[in-house]
């Protein structure tokens, strides 16, 4: 048996630091919103001429008076991602850009993807993203509140907040782009983290009923160990699947799978080191679960 409980306070401290640092990052550095949430135009461009590279593209685009233009390589050497604000929401902007690029590069490039999100739509998408995440947290709270005692709910929700905040913190730290698929990833993380916590909690509660003489400090450790092999296998297969998406699923899914990978790691960690320590700190005992049973 691994003594997970030996490190409860160490990891609580670590988690607190992680959360504080993430919050500071989110407040002061903020998130790098993509055009889905900020509005603007995105062009994925494939070049068939080696003359076309990041700097020549940047030169061309900067001459077009589009405001802040970002040009990046996308996946391999011939693919580029160009983003700009399109502040005035010009109508025929794509046409203009094409004529302009034709002048310097002829026909040696191809627009593989064009996205243009107006300011109204991006504001709405951001709003519905925030609502979706809040709603999912609220629903999880209600679900776990129905299924478990309040101490458990608190533990699970704290673990959830930790996972969401720290994942977003990592995205802020490395300025990774937040787009619609990241919201999907965050929601899935919420589901996954909850899933992981609930499995351990289920065992904790079962053990609470079984053993009246074991303190919660010990009991959580027993429960974590009993479910450990499941935790490892499920996390491993999920991570393997996600790794496959990250490495082979193409550039578009990179951000999504990265967020999910982080979420699964944090979710697994928080089930053990946050959810359970809340039970310990709240001195959950056999009485906690038996009282509920009486009521039923």
């Amino acid at each position: 048996m691994i003594a997970f409980n030996k490190y409860y306070s160490h990891f609580n401290l670590l988690s607190s630091i992680l959360i504080v640092v993430s919050l500071l990052l989110l407040i002061f550095k903020g998130l790098n919103f993509g055009i889905d949430f900020k509005g603007g135009t995105l062009i994925e461009l494939r070049a068939s001429d080696s003359k076309i590279n990041v700097s020549s593209l940047r030169d061309r685009f900067n001459q077009m008076d589009l405001g802040d233009v970002s040009v990046k390589k996308f996946g391999n050497d011939t693919d580029f991602l160009v983003k700009f604000e399109n502040k005035d929401n010009k109508k025929n902007i794509i046409e203009e850009i094409k004529t302009n690029l034709d002048k310097s590069f002829g026909n040696n490039y191809d627009f593989r993807r064009v996205e243009n999100v107006g300011p109204k739509v991006s504001a709405e998408l951001l709003k519905s993203g925030v609502i979706a995440i809040s709603l999912s947290l609220a629903l999880m709270l209600i679900y776990i509140w129905i299924r478990f005692e309040w101490q458990f709910s608190l533990g699970a929700i704290l673990a959830l907040f930790h996972d969401v905040i720290v994942t977003l913190g990592v995205f802020s730290l490395f300025s990774l782009e937040i787009n619609l698929s990241i919201i999907a990833a965050v929601l899935t993380i919420v589901g996954y983290s909850m899933n992981d916590t609930v499995v351990i909690f289920d065992r904790v509660r079962e053990n609470l009923r079984k053993y009246s003489d074991i303190k919660i400090f010990e009991l959580t450790n027993i429960s974590i160990n009993e479910t450990l092999s499941r935790t490892i296998i499920t996390s491993a297969t999920t991570l393997l699947a996600l790794l496959a998406i990250y490495l082979f699923g193409g550039e578009i899914l990179k951000g999504f799978s990265l967020a999910m990978i982080l979420g699964v790691i944090f979710g697994t960690y928080s089930s053990i080191y946050i959810a359970n320590t809340v039970l310990v700190r709240l001195r959950v005992s056999q009485k906690t679960v038996l009282r509920e049973d009486d009521q039923k």
Partner: protein, 517 residues
């Protein structure tokens, strides 16, 4: 728990085979229409264009208010009630009344069966709201009035949009209402939406009006710019004929001077009016105005009674074709703005499909290999279940002809990764049971019973996340929610029916085996 009746086995087999067959209809052609279904590929996979249009209702509201002032004025004139200084400001109509008439005016607006202020009998709310500030009365659209106005302009607009898109002839366009002032246009297979965008961006409001020098024209005048030059002309506001009078419009080559023109045919009312105007207006310039710009202003040389004519204006063949198309499909009730556009080229779509499939294959193999190494025979059971699960999932998606997107493929891969969870929970539980339990069959039973709540909880939480995502998410992300959500059900089915069937057979045959798992 261990026992599976023959009927149940039959049911499980039929169910699984059915869905595997449906899933395989994506690869083969079936004669039977029930099996011949295919998963729809989302725009991000097959390539295509997604356009979200917003109707700008401001001009419609202005126009309606303008008409209303005339209606109100005439209405009270008939009743011999005096109203003065009728003006429009910030989408409100203001007018002054004298004290004696005030009550009767208010009564007209507040009467439940008022013909000036309708809607009450149907919506329990009037079309217009009236606010009385002393002797100045303010009238504007009520909430209900605005909703009605917006939905009706949306109804008209979607009809016109459909006609224009159909005329261009893209395959299977999808045109849907969004809210009460938006229209969603999905154009599969279209990798350059430039032409459609420019066609949808035009209101195509066509009018024929005389150029005039008379500043005191009875209908008022306005200065309009020419489409192709910086010149201006003063044009009467009196409309001779408008786009509504057109029956047909076609691009043509004018053989005399080798110019591209648009020839048009008028309906009876239009032909009559056009004939009359051209007979009285010989020598005058008739301006052809499209969306507030003069295309051309030819001089009337002869009476045109045939009800057909032509528009010239330095067109290329393409622009003449487009103008003819716009005129044929009719004018939009209000300008449209493209507020969101997402276009994916077909080769990127194909690349995404390939990448998704490779990721799925590799993810699948990694998970299968891992499970086999970890659990040996039980791993094999899990793996068979996993394969059947994948097919059933594809089968369900095919049956409902769901739309598969790139995030949707990610959802399938993720389902593969998470689907082992339930089986692992069960097997681990059986292992634990075996520590105190010598009877293999009882341990097996215990494993299934005791793991049930955890499995249920775990899947419900993921399902909740998927449901929220389905309702809040848009486009490709919705596809992810669908595969993730459907995946949960197929996983539970395959775990509790297929995997359990195999496990029970194995346990029954090895009930005395020392090390079961």
């Amino acid at each position: 728990m261990l026992y599976f009746s023959k009927l149940r086995i039959l049911f499980i087999t039929i169910f699984s085979v059915l869905f595997i067959l449906i899933a395989s209809s994506n690869l083969f052609k079936f004669d039977d229409s029930f099996f011949d279904k295919k998963i729809n590929l989302g725009l991000d996979l097959q390539g295509g264009s997604y356009l979200l249009l917003e109707i700008d209702n401001e001009p419609v509201i202005e126009q309606k208010l303008q008409n209303l002032t005339t209606t109100i004025r005439n209405y009270f004139k008939e009743k011999n009630i005096k109203i003065n200084n009728i003006t429009i400001e910030n989408q409100n109509i203001f007018f002054n009344v004298i004290d004696n008439d005030k009550q009767s005016i208010l009564d007209v607006f507040q009467d439940e069966n008022s013909d000036l202020n309708p809607y009450y009998p149907r919506f329990k709310s009037h079309q217009l709201e009236i606010e009385d500030t002393g002797l100045n009365i303010k009238v504007n659209f009520s909430k209900q009035g605005l909703i009605k106005l917006k939905t009706s302009s949306q109804d008209q607009a979607i009809e016109i949009v459909r006609r224009r898109v159909d005329e261009v002839g893209t395959n299977e366009p999808n045109i849907l209402k969004r809210g009460n002032n938006r229209i969603l246009v999905e154009l599969p297979g279209l990798d350059d939406p430039m032409r459609i965008k420019s066609l949808l961006g035009k209101t195509a409001n066509l009018t024929f009006r005389f150029v005039t020098n008379d500043e005191n024209d009875r209908f008022g005048v306005e200065n309009l710019k020419f489409e192709n030059s910086l010149e201006e002309a003063t044009v009467s506001k009196r409309i001779i004929i408008s786009g509504e009078n057109l029956l047909d419009a076609q691009p043509k080559m004018d053989t005399q001077n080798n110019q591209t023109i648009v020839s048009f045919t008028l309906d009876r009312v239009g032909a009559k009016r056009f004939g009359k105007a051209t007979s009285t207006g010989i020598g005058k310039q008739l301006a052809i105005v499209l969306d507030g710009k003069i295309i051309s202003a030819p001089v009337v040389r002869d009476t045109i009674a045939s009800g057909s004519g032509q528009i010239s204006g330095g067109f290329t063949f393409q622009s003449a074709t487009d103008l003819a198309l716009l005129l044929r499909s009719g004018a939009l009730p209000a300008p449209l703005e493209i507020i969101e556009e997402r276009t994916v080229g077909p080769d990127l779509g194909q690349d995404s499909i390939n990448a998704g499939m490779i990721a799925l294959a590799i993810g699948f193999m990694l998970v299968i290999f891992f499970m086999f190494v970890k659990y040996k025979f039980f791993g094999l059971i899990t793996n068979v279940t996993l394969i059947v699960n994948l097919f059933i999932l594809l089968g369900v998606l095919t049956l409902f002809e769901a739309t598969l997107t790139l995030p949707g493929i990610a959802g399938i891969i993720l389902t593969v990764g998470m689907a082992v969870d339930a089986n692992v929970l069960i097997f681990e539980r059986i292992k634990e049971e075996l520590k105190d339990e010598t009877n293999n069959i009882l341990a097996f039973d215990g494993g299934y019973t005791k793991s049930r709540t955890a499995i249920l909880d775990a899947n419900i939480t993921t399902l909740l996340a998927a449901i929220i995502l389905f309702f809040m998410g848009s486009g490709p992300v919705k596809g992810f929610a669908v595969t993730l959500g459907v995946g949960i059900f197929t996983t539970l089915f395959s775990v509790y029916f297929i995997a359990r069937l195999f496990t029970s057979i194995y346990v029954a045959r090895n009930k005395d085996k020392e090390k079961l798992i």
